[in-house]
């Protein structure tokens, strides 16, 4: 069960780094959670910084052992994480529109409330561990200037803002529910759910085509199971892009 074992730390460099080390030296239970009240060097994607103050954010990593998932199906982990975090935010903010910004940032309206960093350990042809690192802005009242468009649960709930532990409880519930989809290999259901929460789904969006370096427009038609994005251009042409090939202009 996800969240049955929670290792809580006052301060860590990064919950993902600790989880990776922990998983490589021990045999952690599936669903073991590493929780930090504060992260000194929280990491975003491949070295990018994630800033926070003690107990203002949910800073956690969950160690999963997806036994039936194939390496080529790994984007399912991204969908699983984004769906569970988005539903957790919706639980606390039922009146707000909560979106997944492709590939896996969580937005309330057009502001970012959560980021996800997934690091897997692969041995041979299968996953040994999948470390899902999640940061959720919970009680921040102000943010550093360098963050472009941040928002926290406090921005909406003020005095009714839940504690970090309560947010973790709900997130673990959601994860336990949707983990059955992974175990049961219900990947197309997960994909459909992920797609339904996509920011700007069905809308005309601007993007930078990285190969031509030109700004183009297209209707966001969806995301495939491998994570690539599908856009329909003005002349009704369907185009599929990998993450590196495109930059969305939000």
């Amino acid at each position: 069960m996800i969240g049955n074992y929670v290792h809580r730390f006052r301060s860590l460099n990064s919950t993902n780094t600790l989880a990776l080390n922990y998983a490589s030296k021990n045999e952690p239970f599936n669903g073991t959670v590493i929780l930090a009240d504060y992260q000194r060097h929280g990491r975003g994607q491949y070295g990018r910084k994630w800033s926070n103050t003690a107990l203002e954010s949910l800073l956690m990593s969950v160690i999963l052992k997806p036994q039936t998932l194939l390496i080529k199906e790994q984007y399912i982990l991204s969908m699983f994480s984004a769906i569970t975090v988005a539903e957790t935010i919706s639980y606390f903010l039922p009146q707000e529109d909560v979106f997944i910004k492709w590939p896996n940032d969580i937005y309330v309206g057009r502001k970012k409330i959560s980021g996800i960093l997934i690091e897997n350990i692969i041995a041979g042809k299968s996953f040994k561990n999948s470390i899902i690192g999640i940061g959720v802005n919970v009680s921040q009242q102000s943010f550093p200037d360098h963050l472009p468009n941040p928002v926290s649960l406090y921005s909406f709930l003020e005095d009714l803002t839940p504690s970090v532990e309560t947010v973790l409880d709900i997130l673990c519930d959601k994860m336990n529910y949707y983990y059955q989809y992974i175990n049961g290999q219900h990947y197309s259901e997960l994909t459909a759910l992920y797609q339904s929460k996509l920011l700007d789904f069905g809308c005309n969006i601007s993007y930078l085509n990285m190969s031509s370096n030109e700004q183009e427009q297209g209707i966001l038609e969806g995301v495939l199971m491998d994570g690539s994005i599908v856009l329909r251009s003005e002349n009704n042409q369907k185009k599929t892009f990998q993450l590196r090939e495109i930059k969305l202009i939000v």
């Binding site: 994607q45 491949y46 070295g47 790994q74 982990l77 991204s78 960093l117 990998q242 590196r244």
Partner: protein
């Protein structure tokens, strides 16, 4: 005609010397033995190189120390040298184990741009050592080695795209 034991003894004796080629003819029996002693790296101690090539069409059941292509046809002495030279490096590589990419993505040699590489040429790896990261769609995959040995070659540049099953490292299992 020599028997199996005699041929075996002959090979042993030749191997102990510096003889590069040896031929003997008795009536309709002929045997020619070639070693790598003439090639540049005549100091080599590897078993594969030290074993002489035996050309004895009359005794096909004799265990061959080298793969078939060169062995079955008796070659004139002059042609033998280049053959041996070409084979040596190929055999070298075949002793190495390949570490291949389990997926399509971007190859990274270190955990972040300011960190040292997980492994470089000359480093020892064990089963379970992390050798690189392959990133795909913002999922970062630490790839663990399934073999132990010494890294002898790095075949992919840092931050380059990588294909499924593409060879990333060559590992010398004896190193």
């Amino acid at each position: 005609m020599m028997n199996f034991k005699e041929i075996q003894e002959l090979i042993k004796q030749i191997n102990r010397t510096n003889i590069a080629e040896f031929k003997i003819k008795q009536q309709d029996f002929e045997i020619s033995i070639r070693t790598d002693k003439l090639t540049k790296n005549n100091k080599t101690t590897e078993v594969v190189h030290a074993a002489p090539q035996l050309i004895a069409p009359s005794m096909p059941q004799f265990p061959q120390a080298t793969p078939p292509p060169a062995a079955p046809t008796p070659a004139p002495a002059a042609e033998s040298k280049p053959t041996v030279k070409e084979e040596a490096p190929a055999k070298d590589d075949s002793n190495y184990i390949e570490i291949k990419s389990p997926m399509v993505g971007t190859f990274y040699r270190s955990s972040s741009p300011d960190k040292p590489a997980f492994v470089k040429v000359g480093d020892k790896v064990d089963v379970g050592s992390v050798v690189c990261i392959v990133e795909a769609m913002k999922l970062f995959n630490e790839i663990e080695s399934e073999v132990s040995g010494t890294i002898v070659k790095v075949l992919v540049e840092d931050a380059q795209p990588i294909e499924y099953d593409q060879v990333i490292y060559l590992v010398d299992p004896k190193g």
